[in-house]
């Protein structure tokens, strides 16, 4: 390491096994191109066009936004491939889609469609409550959710090339996303000040692979791109996530469940670029119309999607 910023792909282990087909650097590379951008949930080609026009750096194609999944209940699954194809046809920016946790066949289908990223998401009903997808087996890169550092590093070890906080999708309530970002960043700060001898026990405590914990300590950040997600509804929410140290933002229901989606989408995109410039944030936050209806998370009856996987 020593300042050069160069690391080899973790050991000679699992990650390099599939490197012939799609090296980890190429998987991480696309995520790096998304940095400083906003990824928006869209349910049809028309919404995808609105998102692209607003300046989204990618779209997430799905059948129902998380707020509707919450309202309607039932089992949420991968979207109809035809819908994903239509959305892919409509835009030139990268297209992502969600697969259920542990449902590797859904991921295979998404890979065959030729989309750009798979989100192994807790927003859909999990297919496997113990195991995640072995993401090394795929040429397509994956993004996964996390609530804390240990969970993030476990996902990276499974092959995720991008991490997002889980937050609490479909609530329009930023509190959980803040909690999760602070937890990850706080643990990294703790780790940086830790004696090397203590890292073994720390790795055990957070249930993460030692080599990745050590690499995180050296880098002072997660070794892959880290986005925020789950509850972002306003430009201010998005800028808050950026100021807390995230590389970009996912907006789910926040855009298309609001009064004026095109305008709000545009405002959130600008807020992420100019996140540390309050004057720009004032400009973009003015007159956006109604935000999505929020859900108070003190209510015990609200299901916590974030707790669906470890």
């Amino acid at each position: 390491m020593a300042g050069s910023g160069v690391v080899t792909v973790y050991g000679n282990g699992a990650i390099t096994e599939t490197s012939k087909k799609s090296p980890f650097s190429v998987k991480v590379g696309l995520a790096q191109m998304l940095r400083g951008g906003v990824i928006m949930d869209v349910v049809n080609a028309e919404q995808a066009r609105i998102a692209e026009e607003a300046g989204a750096c990618a779209v997430m194609a799905l059948e129902r936004v998380p707020a509707d999944i919450r309202a309607q209940g039932g089992v949420a699954r991968m979207s109809d491939p035809q819908l994903i194809k239509d959305i892919k046809q409509a835009v030139t920016i990268p297209v992502m889609a969600k697969a259920r946790i542990g449902h590797f066949v859904e991921a295979q289908i998404l890979e065959a469609i030729g989309i750009d990223y798979v989100d192994e998401s807790e927003v859909l009903t999990p297919a496997d409550d113990e195991n995640h997808i072995n993401k090394h087996n795929f040429r397509i890169p994956f993004v996964c959710g996390c609530r804390n550092l240990g969970e993030a590093l476990r996902r990276i070890r499974e092959g995720a090339a991008m991490i997002r906080t889980k937050g609490e999708a479909g609530t329009g309530n930023i509190i959980e996303a803040v909690r999760h970002v602070r937890s990850v960043m706080g643990d990294i700060r703790l780790l940086r000040n830790m004696d090397d001898d203590e890292v073994f026990t720390f790795a055990k405590k957070i249930q993460a692979p030692y080599d990745l914990v050590m690499q995180t300590k050296q880098l002072g950040r997660l070794p892959v791109v880290h986005f925020a997600a789950g509850g972002v509804a306003t430009p201010a929410d998005a800028a808050l996530m950026m100021q807390l140290g995230c590389d970009g933002v996912f907006v789910g229901s926040g855009v298309f469940k609001s009064g004026d989606p095109a305008r709000r989408a545009r405002a959130i995109v600008q807020a992420v670029t100019h996140y540390s410039d309050p004057e720009v944030l004032v400009d973009v936050s003015c007159g956006l119309g109604e935000a999505m209806v929020g859900i108070n998370l003190n209510d015990e009856k609200v299901e916590r999607y974030a707790n669906r996987s470890e």
Partner: protein, 254 residues
């Protein structure tokens, strides 16, 4: 001396980190007036439509065109290449605004979607002649554009073989295409025209800083022509007292 890096979206942190390794300060550029304090500009990789939208919202295009026109060095990687091109195909419905200046025709997402993203060793004789090092460079192509045609004043710095039966969304992976050899079609992936440099791949994602140092030499050449100030690769601009900026690792195969 400071080199500006357009920081609207994309891999601007990676460029700043690469410049820092060479002892040069990279400055984030988000607003037109910030361009006045820098001698050169790097337009990073990212989503070109997103960057074009953000540049449009903050009225950056006139200032960027002026920057190119007065002959200050500008380097575009990937999305930046699209920005600098005079013509681009494969754009979103309704097209997007470009800066222009580079006499070439660029195809967005020439190689296809993420599954067709790849790494390849590129032969870069002109860079190696000036910067030393091995004759090839590990090019990382992420949903990369390709340069279809260039004007007479454009110097080609690198190209890559491409199959004649290129089909974007199906077909074999690029690696197997390369193994087929035989195909004579080549697509241009790095060019230089006057003070404009453009690459379809991402030197900021590799540890090899020869492209960055090549660009810095272009800046020195300009400074010597116009004024006495030279590119000082000294440490004067490095603020070691500032909190360190943590950045992503560079992944490379063993």
């Amino acid at each position: 001396m400071a080199v500006g890096v357009l920081a609207l979206q994309g891999s601007f942190n990676e460029h700043i980190a690469a410049l820092r390794k060479l002892g040069v300060k990279g400055v984030e550029i988000r607003k037109p007036e910030q361009l006045q304090s820098v001698v050169a500009l790097i337009i990073p990789g990212g989503e070109s439509t997103t960057m074009a939208k953000l540049a449009e919202y903050h009225n950056l295009f006139p200032a960027l065109r002026e920057f190119v026109k007065i002959g200050k060095p500008v380097w575009g990687t990937c999305a930046g290449l699209i920005f600098l091109a005079n013509k681009a195909t494969g754009q979103k419905t309704g097209g997007q605004e470009l800066i222009g200046g580079l006499d070439c025709m660029v195809h967005r997402n020439f190689f296809g979607s993420q599954l067709q993203s790849f790494e390849a060793e590129l032969l870069i004789p002109k860079i190696a002649a000036k910067e030393g090092g091995p004759p090839s460079f590990r090019g990382v192509f992420i949903r990369a554009p390709g340069i279809l045609e260039v004007g007479p004043e454009v110097e080609v710095l690198a190209d890559i073989p491409t199959p004649s039966n290129k089909t974007v969304h199906s077909g074999p992976s690029v690696e197997s295409q390369e193994e087929n050899g035989g195909s004579e079609n080549k697509v241009i992936v790095a060019v230089k025209q006057g003070n404009l440099l453009a690459t379809a791949f991402h030197p900021e994602l590799t540890a090899d800083t020869r492209w960055h140092s090549y660009f810095l030499k272009m800046i020195s050449d300009v400074s010597e022509d116009t004024s006495s100030s030279t590119v000082s690769q000294s440490t004067e601009d490095l603020h070691f007292s500032e909190p360190p900026i943590y950045d992503l690792p560079i992944y490379q195969q063993q």
